[in-house]
């Protein structure tokens, strides 16, 4: 043990969000402390976590557990909590993460419909993924945005999306070293485009940040964590879990395929919504870019990534289809939550945005 006097007190910047219960409170307290001095907080964290996991009924909508998992993954991504960087591989936090993941995965496997398995050939898997994603329910949110959404709702939509999109492509990139051969080359081909093909200003996350700023929003990562509901964090956490566990590489590949296959057409609607309210190309570029880019990516993701992976490793086929179905299911819940709120004239956010006047914003 170090005594506090021997360790130079380091000041970390307080996170731009607050806890949502005992587990995330103890975690944030621990992270505000150098690793060597946090034993007491860690013990409280572990005890709170054990009791939260024992009593949670719907982990996808559990604010405290989803925020905790989001913060834990944030140690690997960066830009979530400013803290001693050694926390990333702290054994108590890794153990805590693994115990939440195990409940989360078990829950997803129980509630996500497992699609019928196609033959393990690239063409059959691509066809099955296109078929599965053709039934998705997302476009109703896209149509609402295109036709009816107000400026506040467009802003809420960007805030909801920012949890993933300001780190767009990162969760799936964890899979790159976990693949080999054709699927690896396919994933790199998609991700290189996501990351701007060598031009930082064309990185999708950077284009999205410009869209946010165009609506007067803060484009720093995690600025709106307090505002988003648990299900929005769950959508990001699911990707991180699939990406960071090599065992689940089939699921992250299936997730990406489904994500790309349900992107081009909705993005055209999103862009139309912003154009309807007179936003210009600086704001709509993100959506227009995705109409074209994801029409390319969905082809590569279906046949050359997911299809080739199933061909090379048929034992991953079930997880590829599970990952695709999980993407549609969880993102479907997130979209439904937003649409339900808007159609009943409520904010879709946990904490509504404050301080926007609608004059002179465009």
């Amino acid at each position: 043990m170090y005594s506090p006097e021997l360790v130079r007190p380091v000041r970390f910047i307080a996170p731009p969000f607050t806890d949502r219960g005992q587990v995330s409170r103890h975690l944030l307290h621990a992270l505000a402390t150098p690793v060597a001095l946090a034993d007491d907080e860690l013990e409280s964290f572990q005890a709170a976590l054990a009791s939260a996991l024992a009593s949670t009924t719907d982990i996808v909508r559990d604010d405290d557990l989803q925020l905790t998992l989001f913060v834990l993954y944030g140690l690997a991504y960066g830009s979530v909590v400013d803290c001693d960087e050694r926390w990333e591989w702290n054994t108590a936090l890794i153990a805590g993460r693994a115990s939440i993941e195990s409940h989360f995965e078990e829950h997803l496997r129980a509630v996500v419909p497992q699609p019928e398995l196609p033959a393990s050939t690239a063409e059959a898997v691509a066809a099955a993924l296109f078929e599965l994603t053709s039934h998705e329910t997302g476009p109703s949110l896209a149509r609402f945005l295109a036709k009816k959404a107000t400026v506040e709702q467009l802003r809420e939509f960007l805030v909801q999306r920012s949890i993933y999109t300001l780190k767009e492509a990162d969760p799936h990139s964890w899979a790159i070293p976990r693949l080999t051969g054709r699927p690896k080359a396919a994933l790199v081909e998609i991700q290189a485009d996501e990351y701007g093909g060598g031009r930082p200003e064309r990185m999708h996350a950077a284009i999205f940040a410009r869209t946010m700023r165009g609506l007067g929003l803060d484009s720093r990562y995690a600025a709106y964590v307090d505002n988003v509901p648990a299900v929005t964090l769950a959508s990001m956490n699911m990707m991180s879990m699939f990406g960071l566990n090599r065992r689940l590489r089939g699921a992250i590949v299936g997730h990406l395929a489904a994500f790309e296959m349900t992107s081009s057409i909705p993005n055209r609607h999103y862009g139309n919504g912003f154009r309807r309210l007179d936003f210009g190309p600086d704001v709509t570029l993100y959506f227009d870019e995705h109409v074209e880019a994801d029409a390319v990516h969905e082809q590569i993701a279906g046949r050359d990534l997911a299809g080739a992976l199933a061909e090379d490793q048929p034992t991953l086929l079930a997880d590829i289809m599970f990952g695709a179905s999980a993407c549609l299911t969880v993102d479907g819940w997130a979209s439904e939550t937003i649409l339900e709120a808007w159609t009943s004239h409520r904010s879709s956010l946990r904490v509504p945005l404050q301080g926007f006047s609608e004059t002179g914003m465009r």
């Binding site: 063409e123 066809a127 296109f130 485009d193 081009s264 074209e292 029409a295 390319v296 082809q299």
Partner: protein
Amino acid sequence: MVERASIEAYVDGPLLVRGDVDILDKNGHPVERTRATVALCRCGVSAIKPFCDGTHKAVHFKTDPDGPVS
């Protein structure tokens, strides 16, 4: 080494073009290309021609399963 360009057919979907080729419009003017791999519409309904925008799925475009390039 300069790699040769390729055009690859995807079942019930677009043609993917990789490598260094000029895409010219009907007046012979180059079409702006912002990415390394592009998808050319072959169903005829894309709103961003010559590129594919995914709409082939909405119109249930089918390529010839017995054709030389699917």
